[in-house]
Every structure is written in C-alpha cells, then in structure tokens.
C-alpha cells in the first residue's frame, strides 16, 4: 500500500525539490512506496485530510490542532529551533512607526496561511483594529504581499518571519518592520495518521538520526532544516492549547 505524504501549502517555493528528496528518503527508510502530494490551497488540503487520504503531513501549527484533536494524528518531530513567527511590515516611507499609529481603514495584505493571519490580527489589537474596521486582501504568497505594499495597494502586510527574510534585499530595503512576534513555542510539526501508528517508533528513530549521515543531512539541507527534534504527546498538546487561546 502506498503511503501519502503532504506538506502545509505555506512551504517555501525553494524547498519543493527538498520535499521530493525527503519523499525518496522516507521510502528507503520505511521500505514502502510513498506518494508526495502538494497543494496550492489550505482548503483543498483540509478536504483530503478529512477524507483520510493523508498518512503523513508536515503541518502548520494551526492545522496540527485539527489533525490531533479531530483526526487522531500524532506529532512525532519538529525542526530544531524554527519557531513560526509573524511580522507586520509596511513601506519604508510610511508615516507610521508602530502598530499603535495605525488607524481604522488600514488596508492589510495577507495570505491564506492561518497562523500568520491569526497572529497578524492579534498584533493589530493594540491599535483597536479588527476585521470590522480594516480591509483585508488575500495574496497567494509573501512576495505578492510585499508587492501590494510597494504598489501602494496595501498599507501593511502580514508575513511569516522566514518568508520575510527570504524576500530579496531590493524588496526588503523598501520596507520596514512594525512588529515581530516572539512566541517561540509555536512551530510546524511532522504528523502521522492513525493508519501508520505501528511505524512511529521506526520513523521517529530514523528522523532523529537523519542529520548524522551525509545522505540524510543533504536532504535536510534542501529543506532548510538543521535536524529533527522529537515531539511527544504533551509537547503537542501544550502547543495546541496555546493555539486554542488565540483562535477567536
């Protein structure tokens, strides 16, 4: 039986090849065919998750909540020292210096990334801004969010910190950061579905040792991950509880 692997649609475009390498590496470790399915949209991916078409997923923390609490997935690993943080940025020449300078009517460019959007909205609260008094335009990636700012179609943009740092220097130089989140305990995780439970010990052992040999290390490098760190039940539950408090 072929196993199905997928990745949260917020993956960096530079890492697409890396996920195919990871897929091949997984097949070797498990001695089982693995199929990688990439999605453009969070919604489409969620439909397939609910239809039980996925065995393994590198998920964003927001979806991890649904996967664990509703679909019986188990988080087994996370990338070492890679928390998901959110940045709110604006044009370099904008008149505001902090979030509290923002006024009702502010035009926001965002993505469909649920974590970054949720955290971005939370970081607007100190200015009394919420969905009732701002306008929100969804863009398909962080480069397009930045372009909306530079073209003056939006006043501020929500970025995954790593996505912001991946923007070219040319673009970054025309922008400034108003606030960066510093949460540190919210991150992507690798989760395994209920159908693959018996393979968790083997998979976890191989993942945690992956950085120790050249082959594994080069796959990790192509994913921008230093090494995997183990996730246990309580660590996962803690992260999910925290996210629960942030969901309106």
């Amino acid at each position: 039986m072929t196993l199905n692997l997928t990745v949260s649609p917020d993956f960096a475009p530079d890492h697409i090849a890396g996920w195919y390498f990871f897929n091949t590496w997984l097949q070797r470790q498990l001695g089982n065919a693995v199929h990688l399915e990439l999605y453009d949209s969070f919604e489409e991916q969620r439909q397939d998750l609910r239809a039980e078409k996925v065995d393994l997923i590198y998920a964003n923390p927001y979806d991890a909540s649904m996967l664990v609490r509703e679909l019986g997935f188990e988080a087994i690993a996370r990338p070492l020292a890679q928390p998901d943080e959110t940045i709110i940025a604006c044009r370099e020449d904008a008149e505001f210096e902090s979030v509290e300078d923002l006024q009702p009517g502010t035009r926001v460019a965002t993505t469909s990334d649920p974590d970054v959007h949720t955290m971005g909205m939370i970081m607007l609260e100190p200015a009394d801004l919420d969905s009732s008094n701002i306008s929100i335009a969804q863009r398909s990636n962080y480069v397009l969010v930045a372009k909306s700012l530079l073209k003056r179609e939006a006043d501020i943009g929500f970025f995954l910190k790593a996505g912001y740092q991946d923007l070219s220097a040319l673009i970054q130089n025309q922008m400034k950061v108003l606030v960066t989140s510093q949460i540190s305990v919210v991150h992507h995780t690798l989760l395994v579905g209920p159908g693959m439970r018996e393979q968790i010990p083997l998979l976890q052992e191989r993942l945690l040792a992956m950085h120790e040999d050249d082959k594994g290390r080069s796959v990790l490098e192509s994913l921008g991950i230093e090494q995997w760190e183990s996730m246990d039940r309580e660590r996962t539950e803690f992260m999910i509880d925290l996210i629960d408090t942030l969901i309106p």
Binding site: E125, P126, T180, S181, Q182, E237, D241, L242, T245, L246
Partner: protein
C-alpha cells in the same frame, strides 16, 4: 486597607477569596506590555502555577523558582474586583474559554495590563490544568476596564 504611605508606594493588604491575606507593595507605575510577545502560564486544576514562559518571568518580576508552585493569585492587584475572577472560575468550570482584561501586580509593586485568555487543558476527557495566554491590550480597552472595575469594587 492601607497601612502605610510613602513616595515609593504604599503597603496594601490583599484579601483573597477564601479569606487568606497578604501585605503587598503597590506603586502607581505602569510597565508597558512588550510588543509581539505572549505571556504564558499553566496551572494545576486548583490554580497553582506549573509552567511559565520567559515573558511571564520578565513581566512579573519574580524568578521562575518563586513562581512554580505558587498560587496564581500572586499576581492579583487590589484594583481588580473579586467578581472578575469569580467569573473566570465559573466560566472554566463549564469547560469553556474565558477572556478578560486584567491589571496584574508585579513583585516590585508596579502593574501591567493584559488581555488574557484562559482555557481548560482537557486530556482523555479530564481537566488536568489550565493555560493562560496574554497579549497586548489597546489603551481604549484599558480605560474601559479601569472604569468598569472601579464600579465593581
């Protein structure tokens, strides 16, 4: 009840639900909430602290060692009406999320305002504790809360 007054603040007796009391230094100085941070703590089912993050340590002014095992009411500010916390515990007992604006007392007597959310931690159907996550409130919400709490004291 005010026992003593001087330029560096005053000593106030805080009376907790259940009757226990504590003498605390109160200074009329606000420490601003740090941008972009979340202040996180967890308690056992009785409200004794089991986990705090670094932002919690930094803002409260206590060390981690002083906080772990302490009753969460260590942060109770005398300007907070008892009814606000009665509402918190009633909401948690129904198994649901609680939101509110809270003025917290630091070890040095200064205060900080937070927008707090508290949820029960449910494992295998049992409440094993509570998690609270605080974020930065707006000035207008702080003003509204100050006015409201004044009427509830």
């Amino acid at each position: 009840m005010e026992d003593q007054n001087n330029d560096d603040g005053r000593i106030v007796t805080i009376t907790y639900y259940g009757g226990a009391t504590r003498e605390a230094l109160i200074v009329d100085h606000e420490v601003p909430y740090p941008d972009g941070k979340l202040i996180v703590s967890r308690t056992d089912p009785k409200g004794f602290i089991t986990h705090v993050n670094q932002a919690f340590v930094d803002m409260s002014g206590y060390s981690r060692e002083e906080l772990i095992g302490a009753n969460h009411n260590i942060l109770r500010h005398p300007d907070m009406p008892a009814v606000a916390f009665a509402g918190l515990w009633e909401t948690l007992e129904t198994g649901t999320k609680w939101h509110g604006y809270v003025k917290n007392l630091r070890k040095d007597g200064a205060f900080y305002w937070v927008k707090a959310t508290v949820i029960p931690n449910i494992r295998d159907g049992e409440v094993v504790g509570y998690t609270s996550v605080r974020r930065k409130p707006s000035r207008s919400k702080i003003r509204e809360s100050e006015e409201l709490y004044e009427t509830l004291k």
